[in-house]
C-alpha cells in the first residue's frame, strides 16, 4: 500500500466514523419513536447493540488474523490481532456497562443470568485473559501464545452459549422481558447506529494498528543500532 493511500485511509476512517456517529445520534434522538412502555430508556438499546456488534466483529478479526499469523508468521497479522483484541475488549466493556443500565429500569434488575448476558460476560473474561497473555509475554513467544488463545477463545464462545442454554433449559427462566418488538421507525436508526459503531471500531483499530507498527519499527531500529555499535 502506498504512503498516499495510507494517509488517505488515516483520514477517511476517523472522518467517516465521526460523521456516522453524529448521524446515528441524530437518528436515535430526533427520528426514532419513543417506545411506549419503556420510554426514553429504550434509546440505550441502539448503542448497546452497536457496541455488541463492534465487539463481536473485533473478536472475529482477532480469530482470522490469529490464524493468518500462525500460518504466515508475518508480524503484521499479529499487530492486527492485538489491535482488534484491545478495541474488542473496549466495546465488550461498553456492552456490559450499558446493558445493566438498560435492564435496571426495564426489568427491575441490574443483571440476570440469561445465556446471552452470561456469554457476554465470559467473552469479556476470555479477551481480558488474551490481553493478560499479551502483557505478560512480549515478543514472538507471546505472539504465538496469543494466536493460539485467540483461536481457542473464539471457538469456545458458542460452546459456552449453548451449554448455558441447555443448562437453563432445565429450570424455568424467571425473567422473560425485553422482548424487543421493534417498531418500523426504529429500524433505520438501528442500522445507522450499527454502521456507526462498525466505523468507530475500524477507526480505533486502525489507529491502534499504526501504534503497533511504530513499536515494531522501534524494535527494528534498536536491533540495528546495537549491531552498528561494536
Amino acid at each position: 500500500m502506498g504512503i498516499a493511500m495510507k494517509k488517505t485511509l488515516d483520514i477517511f476512517f476517523p472522518a467517516a466514523a465521526l460523521a456516522a456517529v453524529i448521524s446515528a445520534l441524530a437518528a436515535v434522538f430526533l427520528y426514532a419513536p419513543v417506545e411506549r412502555t419503556m420510554g426514553l430508556v429504550q434509546k440505550i438499546f441502539y448503542f448497546h447493540l452497536g457496541s455488541a456488534a463492534a465487539a463481536f466483529l473485533a473478536f472475529t478479526v482477532v480469530l482470522v488474523s490469529s490464524v493468518f499469523y500462525l500460518v504466515s508468521r508475518s508480524p503484521r497479522w499479529d499487530t492486527v490481532a492485538l489491535a482488534a483484541a484491545e478495541t474488542g475488549v473496549l466495546f465488550c466493556t461498553l456492552v456490559l456497562i450499558t446493558g445493566p443500565l438498560w435492564a435496571r429500569p426495564v426489568w427491575g434488575k441490574w443483571w440476570v443470568w440469561d445465556p446471552r448476558l452470561t456469554t457476554t460476560l465470559i467473552l469479556w473474561f476470555l479477551y481480558v485473559g488474551y490481553m493478560v497473555i499479551r502483557e505478560a509475554l512480549p515478543g514472538p513467544r507471546g505472539a504465538l501464545a496469543a494466536g493460539v488463545f485467540g483461536i481457542l477463545a473464539y471457538v469456545d464462545v458458542p460452546i459456552v452459549y449453548f451449554s448455558i442454554r441447555w443448562w437453563r433449559g432445565i429450570h424455568p427462566v424467571v425473567i422473560r422481558g425485553g422482548n424487543v418488538g421493534l417498531d418500523a421507525g426504529m429500524i433505520p436508526p438501528l442500522i445507522i447506529s450499527l454502521a456507526a459503531f462498525v466505523l468507530l471500531l475500524a477507526a480505533l483499530t486502525r489507529e491502534r494498528y499504526n501504534i503497533g507498527n511504530l513499536e515494531l519499527r522501534i524494535q527494528q531500529l534498536e536491533v540495528s543500532s546495537k549491531e552498528d555499535t561494536p
Binding site: L70, V132, I133, A136, L137, F149, V155, V160, S163, W166
Partner: protein, 222 residues
Amino acid sequence: MRAALAITRKDLLLEMRGREVVVILFVFAFLVLTLFSLSASPGSEALSEMAPGILWITFLFAGVLGLGRNFDRERENDCFQGLLLAPCDPTQIYWGKCLSTLIFMLVFQALLWPLFSILYGFSPLRGGHIVWTAFLLGDIGFVALGVLLSAIAIHIRSREIVLPLLLFPLCLPVLLGGVQCTASAMAGGGFREVAGWLGRLAAFDVIFISLGSILFPFVVEE
C-alpha cells in the same frame, strides 16, 4: 504413541515418588468442602442443592493446582526444553501430559468422592457408574484445555494466577456438564436422563482434544 506413553509413565513415576502433592491436594480439597458446608446456614436445603457445584469447583481448584505442580517440575532444570528436544512429535508430548494429568485427576476424585458423600450425607455408591462416566468425560475436557494453557503459562512469571484466569472461563461448558450429570445421578436419575449431557460432554472433549492437538505444537515452538 509410544513417546506419549513414556511421558505419562515418567510423570506418574514422579507423582508416586512425591506422593505428598496428592496428599496435600487432598487435604486442601477436604478443607474446601468443609468451608463450603460451613458457609451455608445450618439445616438449610441450599447446601444439598449446591453440592454438585461445590464438588466440581473443588475439582477445578485441585486440577489447576495439580497442573501447576506438574509443569513447575518441568521448569526446574529446564526439563521441558529437554523434553521438546526429544525426537518426537510435540503432539505426543501433549497427549502424554494429558493422560498423566487425567490419571492424576481420577485418582484424586476416587479419594475425594467417599469423603464428599459422607460430609454431604449420602451413600458413596449413589449414582454409581453415571457419576464416574461424568467425572471421566469432564476430566478429559478439563485436561485437554489445561495442558495446552499450562504450556503457555509456563513462561509467565505470575503463572499461578494467570493459569486459572485463562482456564476457568474456557472450561465453563465442562463445569456445567459435569455438575448437571452429577446432580442428576445423585438425585437417583438413570442413564437416560443424563444421556444428553454425557453426549455433549463427549462432544466438548472431541473439540478440545482436537484443538489442543493442533495448537500445542505452536505453543511449544522456539
